[in-house]
């Protein structure tokens, strides 16, 4: 069996054809409205992503890391979280940020190059993006240890943490160390691996010979593989894992089996390393299409609803675009802001001397050469 074959252990509640199926360990009862909300979420985050990609093409963003194809993995896990749960993303979890109430516009800032994360993680419980592969898994584990110390596990006010990372990230020492610490301290953290089959150009086979979810057992906690293109299964599996964590039963590894439909980032050219037919095959498993056909079959939606969602997406995209274009560049002096909480006299001196230097150009009425 190739590691890229999901295998029978794949947990699914909604087939690519939009059929609702049962799973012995995971059930999910949703109201009609909740089904529709999930659909809306999926459509909106895809639109955010497409708009951001377009903005990048037009030079308004320096780069963009697309989530195309991974909407269900992100919305399913994002919606599984309670408000008090904390998420530690990579650089691709725009849909999770959206679930946590972060204005998507703020998520553009980093890619536009005006900041390195401008939302407040303490308000949204959505940590800043972490670009160095794997590092955030340790932060998540430490944060979860803090939850324990605060006595927020095992009771009604239980809190949990999700650490997001990719298939490639599983090869980093930090991720494996996070597994160890989480296990040893029984920390309330869910390790949520979006296996999108690639680490830039490298296929899964470069990282492992066995399915990734199996990694967990050797560290002493459960691992499960869920269909990451199935928003219902992802929701159910992640919710169960978070509940386990918040009840004090320790970590779980969730491998969300999915596919990166686009390039790694807008700087990447995937035609160099993968064939079109593979992408075509995954198109048939589209995370949004299956929800749409389910909703249709169940007659949960009508054309008006779909149009309303489209309109909402249009409005969101327009707001994003306008907001992005209007984003001011930071002032040069911002270079010196927030290096230290308590400041540094040396840096103050550099700030002042740079200001003096710049003001000389202003006085002379010239720009830098």
């Amino acid at each position: 069996m190739s590691v890229a074959d999901p295998g029978p252990e794949l947990i699914q509640l909604l087939t690519p054809e939009g059929e609702r199926v049962d799973h012995p360990d995971y059930s999910l009862e949703l109201t009609d409205g909740e089904y529709r909300d999930l659909y809306r979420d999926l459509v909106l985050v895809r639109r955010i992503d497409l708009e951001a990609t377009a903005l990048q093409r037009q030079g308004e963003l320096g780069i963009w890391a697309s989530l195309l194809g991974q909407e269900a993995a992100q919305i399913g896990s994002g919606r599984a979280m309670a408000p008090q749960d904390m998420a530690f993303p990579t650089y691709r979890e725009h849909a999770v940020g959206y679930c946590k109430g972060v204005d998507p516009l703020k998520m553009l800032g980093l890619f536009r190059g005006v900041d390195q994360g401008s939302w407040d993680p303490r308000e949204s419980n959505f940590h800043l993006y972490t670009i160095v592969i794997g590092a955030q898994c340790l932060h998540a584990t430490g944060y979860a240890m803090g939850i324990q110390k605060d006595g927020k596990v095992g009771g009604d006010d239980g809190e949990a943490v999700i650490a997001y990372f990719g298939d490639g990230a599983t090869s980093q020492g930090d991720v494996n160390e996070a597994f160890i610490w989480a296990s040893v301290f029984e920390a309330p953290v869910v390790f949520f691996c979006q296996n999108n089959q690639y680490a830039i150009s490298e296929p899964l086979e470069r990282q492992t010979r066995v399915p990734l979810y199996r990694r967990a057992a050797g560290f002493g906690f459960p691992g499960v593989r869920v269909d990451g293109n199935d928003v219902l299964a992802t929701l159910a599996v992640t919710r169960a894992a978070l509940d386990r964590a918040r009840q004090g039963e320790g970590p779980t590894l969730v491998e969300a089996y999915t596919y990166r439909m686009g390039a790694h980032t807008t700087s990447d050219d995937p035609t160099r390393y993968r064939i079109a037919s593979e992408v075509e095959a995954w198109k048939l498993k589209d995370p949004i299409e299956r929800v749409r056909s389910f909703l249709h079959k169940q007659q949960l939606v009508d054309e008006a609803f779909l149009a309303e969602v489209e309109a909402e997406a249009d409005a969101l995209a327009a707001r994003l675009r306008a907001g992005c274009l209007a984003m001011p560049d930071p002032a040069p002096s911002a270079i010196f802001d927030h290096v230290y909480a308590d400041g540094s006299p040396e840096l103050d001196a550099q700030r002042e001397s740079f200001a003096r230097y710049l003001s000389r150009f202003e006085e002379a009425g010239t720009d830098a050469r």
């Binding site: 900041d115 390195q116 994360g117 401008s118 407040d120 993680p121 303490r122 940590h127 800043l128 972490t130 160095v132 590092a135 898994c137 340790l138 932060h139 998540a140 584990t141 430490g142 944060y143 979860a144 240890m145 803090g146 939850i147 110390k149 605060d150 020492g173 930090d174 160390e177 996070a178 160890i180 610490w181 040893v184 802001d337 927030h338 290096v339 230290y340 909480a341 308590d342 540094s344 006299p345 040396e346 840096l347």
Partner: protein, 327 residues
């Protein structure tokens, strides 16, 4: 509490204890810091009194020690991490320079990192490889970190308390071969500021700048020189390696016209280079001779039987002072 005569290690221990007592958010974590009390016993007795929840024996992984400390800090804790020896901090280097140092900046000041990374540093204890390193320049070159080094028991006690109280991430260097040196520590005294250098001995002929383990050496050299009717040395203890507080050094050099900087770390790109670069810039017309640097040689730390030769000592320091008079 009245002033007590303590070893440097014990002074750190009482400083940690005070911090743990006064702030329930303070944690101590690292390899063997609990039951064993650390290989140098700096955390001796702390787990017994504050529990396993606050004084944590961790799995064996430096990257995870710092990485989880970052997570704990995000949750409102103030972790004090022990790295067992200088040479074992490098597995955590990524977490320190890419995460710990940058979190406050990245978050536009929203996320504070009140984390202290304690590192016993330097040589002179006859140890095997990786147990005698002086990695301070690696951290001092990193914007977003602060780096301090204590040189005596009173400073050790106060500086660790001040470092824990600071909201910035601080690499806290402890001169391991001075752990057993004793001096009075008054835990009620008015503390000297953490990020300030200090003139420890006044003199007129040449300024000597040192920090950590070399402060003792510099003071001994000054005494020897004075006793032998030689030159009068002014000794400055840098204390803070980043940010540097060079005001007192500039003032001293303007007086003496000569400067020798001494440290154990290799000279190439060591702190001495930075001090020399700044002093020649600030005191260009006051210098009677170039700033000279005395450091470890630009080799890996040698086997223990060679460390006396490798490490700067009183003679090499005084030789450099002499050389400033040869210009």
């Amino acid at each position: 509490m009245p002033a007590e005569t303590l070893t440097l290690a014990k002074a750190l221990n009482t400083g940690l204890r005070t911090a743990l007592e006064r702030d329930p958010k303070v944690l101590v974590m690292g390899e063997d810091v609990g039951k064993l009390g650390g290989v140098f016993r700096v955390t001796d007795g702390l787990q017994k009194d504050f529990g396993e929840d606050r004084v944590i024996d961790t799995p064996l992984g430096e990257s995870a020690i710092i990485g989880t400390a970052i997570g704990l800090a995000l949750r409102g804790y103030r972790p004090v991490c022990e790295i067992q020896f200088d040479g074992f901090v490098y597995p955590a280097y990524d977490q320190i320079v890419s995460q710990l140092a940058k979190m406050h900046y990245r978050s536009q000041g929203r996320l504070r990192m009140p984390i202290v990374v304690r590192i016993p540093f330097g040589g002179g204890i006859g140890a095997v490889e990786h147990h005698s390193e002086s990695p301070e320049a690696y951290f001092a070159h990193t914007a977003g970190l602060k780096v301090v080094a204590c040189s005596n028991p009173a400073d050790a006690h106060w500086m660790i308390r001040q470092a824990i109280a600071s909201d910035d991430p601080i690499v806290f260097l402890e001169p391991k071969r001075r752990y057993w040196e004793k001096a009075p520590v008054d835990p009620d005294a008015e503390p000297y500021p953490l990020f300030a250098s200090r003139v420890l001995r006044e003199g007129t002929d040449c300024t000597v700048v040192a920090y950590g383990p070399m402060v003792r050496t510099a003071l001994d050299a000054a005494t020897a020189s004075a006793n032998e009717g030689g030159r009068s040395l002014e000794v400055v203890d840098l204390r803070s390696l980043s940010p540097l507080d060079l005001g007192p050094v500039f003032a001293s050099v303007r007086k003496t016209g000569r400067l020798v900087v001494v440290h154990e770390a290799p000279g190439n790109l060591g702190l001495g280079s930075e001090v020399a670069a700044r002093v020649q810039e600030e005191c260009f017309y006051s210098l009677e001779s170039p700033v000279l640097r005395v450091g470890g040689f630009d080799t890996p730390y040698p086997p223990a039987r060679l460390e006396e030769e490798y490490l700067p000592d009183l003679d090499r320091l005084l030789d450099a002072v002499d050389r400033t008079y040869a210009y």
